[in-house]
Symmetry: C2
Subunit: 445 residues, 2 copies
């Protein structure tokens, strides 16, 4: 990290020839993941120039570790001959991952460079959707027959070096998964023993249609480094490793953080302006609809606003306090849901708890704000109106903070993506309605 940010600092501050030389030096030392990060931190024109310096043997590894948008940008800029050379080296696993965001034409081009067997591999994994672990299972693993001996397994382990490899998987003649034997046991056993005698009883597998985050958690919570991925007929199609799980967890959270601003984890730091603007416009449009809803609510009370202009001055405070309180409940709910901790059995207790917190803080801040507003405008009615509105809005915010994500979950919607827009719409509308409605009653009648 420190090293990466130092390299970014040096590279982005250099220009032209100097940058080219510096990047050549960095390429000597840096791992593909670092090269990917460095390229992503360059503006597009510099990025494409530096890309031409990356050795053709390294290119797939570097692109593989980039986010999708910068990767696709580079592929679009590459001359056809270089592209064909690149695709002639790509593995079905990598192509599957890239194809999630690649244009159909580009995917076709890549497939046309692939041998028949690899293409079959590709088709096999392509039947799983983008959220199923079967699509991304690693296809290289150690597997042996139940009747194989310990010495065969030892030879395997000695000859082949795979990352996160601490099992040999046992398959029957139809490639069906039977169980696994641990490396540690293999090297302690007598060479002539059969692997069957070492079969590890607690060995678990994961279904190919399990979601990515489920699969990541399965391996994270186990004490193993790898776990078999099997299809519905029990055939082992690949393995899931702890390293893949770490990457998936990171991507999952990055996606969630970006989603709070209506953005995507694939987004490029330096998207072309028109592309960036178009993508973000959708979220701004959705927000505009909800802002008009708030405006329409205010519009119902033009009468009282005309008479008491101080209401216009204070009304953002009511909406804002409700929004913050609601987002606190919502954030707690979203975290709990991500861990599978929220259910029909505890939602009422949660609601009671959050409502209690909302009312306590509501009373506190209603008093504080009511007193300040009363003094500011020298008008005790104003203090009463804003205090009451704050209290009501903060209680409603707590209820909405619990119920909105529950309802979204029932509708199979991602609460992390749309929860906060819906929540602030509720707290804006309720806040303005209570504040201006109460004011109408007290000032106009």
């Amino acid at each position: 990290m420190v090293e990466v940010s130092q390299s970014v600092e040096q590279l982005t501050n250099a220009e032209g020839e100097e940058q080219a030389e510096l990047f050549d030096e960095m390429l000597e030392e840096a791992e593909p993941g670092t090269v990917a990060l460095l390229l992503e931190s360059l503006p597009l024109d510099e990025r494409y120039e530096r890309w031409s310096q990356v050795d053709s043997d390294e290119r797939i590894a570097v692109l593989d570790l980039m986010r999708a948008d910068p990767r696709n940008g580079i592929l679009d800029e590459m001359p056809e001959a270089e592209l064909d050379l690149l695709f002639s080296q790509i593995s079905p696993e990598d192509l599957i991952e890239w194809s999630d965001t690649l244009s159909d034409a580009m995917t076709e081009r890549a497939l046309s460079q692939m041998g028949e067997r690899q293409r079959q591999h590709y088709d096999r994994y392509d039947q799983y959707s983008e959220n199923e672990i079967g699509r991304y299972a690693e296809h290289q693993f150690l597997a042996l027959n139940l009747t194989s001996t310990v010495s065969q397994a030892q030879r395997f382990f000695r000859r082949i070096k795979l990352d996160c490899n601490d099992h040999v998987f046992l398959l029957d003649d139809d490639d069906k998964y039977i169980g696994s034997v641990r490396r540690h046991d293999v090297f302690r056993a007598a060479p002539e023993a059969t692997l069957e005698s070492l079969l590890w009883e607690d060995s678990r597998s994961i279904l190919a249609d399990a979601s990515l985050i489920e699969a990541a958690e399965a391996i994270e919570h186990s004490n193993e480094l790898e776990i078999a991925v099997v299809d519905t007929s029990g055939i082992m199609i690949g393995r899931m490793t702890l390293r893949t799980a770490t990457a998936l967890v990171r991507e999952h959270y990055e996606a969630q953080l970006m989603a709070t601003a209506g953005m995507d984890e694939d987004d490029d730091l330096f998207a072309p302006i028109t592309v960036g603007a178009r993508r973000r416009a959708v979220w701004l449009g959705i927000n505009l609809l909800t802002a008009f809803l708030a405006s329409a609510t205010i519009g119902l009370f033009e009468n009282v606003l005309e008479k008491v202009v101080a209401l216009a001055v204070l009304m953002p405070i009511v909406a804002s306090m409700g929004g913050i309180a609601g987002s606190q409940s919502l954030t707690l709910m979203i975290r709990g849901m991500a861990m599978g901790q929220i259910s029909s059995g505890n939602v009422m207790s949660l609601l009671k708890n959050e409502l209690g917190i909302g009312i306590l803080n509501g009373v506190l801040w209603a008093t504080v704000i009511g007193l300040i507003a009363g003094y500011w405008f020298n008008d005790p009615i104003m203090g009463t109106v804003i205090g009451a509105a704050i209290l009501i809005n903060m209680a409603v915010a707590a209820i909405a903070g619990v119920m909105v994500p529950m309802i979204l979950q029932k509708m199979n919607q991602d609460a992390a993506l749309s929860g906060s827009v819906i929540l602030t719409t509720v707290t804006d509308v309720v806040g303005f309605f209570c504040f201006l409605g109460l004011a109408s009653i007290l000032y106009l009648y």
Copy 2:
């Protein structure tokens, strides 16, 4: 995950005796991490009752995998005798982690149950702060002398089973780290060879005062499962594993997500109401200050608001569009910063890019909103005023979205925590000021 959420569903829906029996069954099968999740999803009274069913041998492992607040709540509820029994079994590593949030009295109590040697261990790791990897390094690892033979290393690997163990670390007579030898090489080499001959050249270590997330990334980006943690004098004090890295990454992002609502990753789903209310009050208070700033801005323009009440109806739209646009830039910046991709060399290019996107979307939405507002109030001046204010505010939002996190970083502040409050203060104040200021000029003069 699926299994956990099903168990949560069943357990939270059961009551009293039935819940107790169900939990007993679950305890038979479930791993400590699952038990921790289950307990966290129960309201406090039920949680403390079920805790008494957890076997005393399992208790430390379960508490260790809980978030800090629920763990501390359980410790506070335990009878003194049980507490002493628990602490007599705790390892220095676990206690170090717990002590970050434990009361001093409780930490002292735990230390008093510890033997002299373990206490020394504790003191050794306690010199590192909560954000330094030295504090949490794992103290169990395989280490041998440079002159040891391959057969000694093989014996070690066969006898001892550690998670994520794929190296034997080589130390000199003063425990200084020299390098490491890979398990894979150990089992391929001749038994009488020295480990020195297998010394792996690229082997790296990490400094004990490196930050947690730096250490996590170092191991994530390597191809290894473990890496040595050394102090400033080069002595190896422990190791960092890929599994620890995964947990750290998860905690890091969870903390970031909770921070966006001014909350803490240690927070309990069922905090006692008074505790929960007190914690959240701070964030609400900070928000109130910024809301009053916005109000004061509006207060400058009471004259024009009195004359043209439609301004009060429309003004939330200006602030809201600026806030959303700014948070999009901010989110992109925060992600880039987390990956070390933002530096003095590319911040100007980023600013240009974001400003371009802000102006493009500004022109689009200024037109849309200007037209709608003009028709709604049948007043072309109103359309012009809101359009201009939207355009200015969205351009300012883009600049603030890039500059606020840069400035916070310079001041060593966490942009994920305070960035969005500062940003929305800017967009609120600028939005209201431009909108009402322009309106004053056009309507009053």
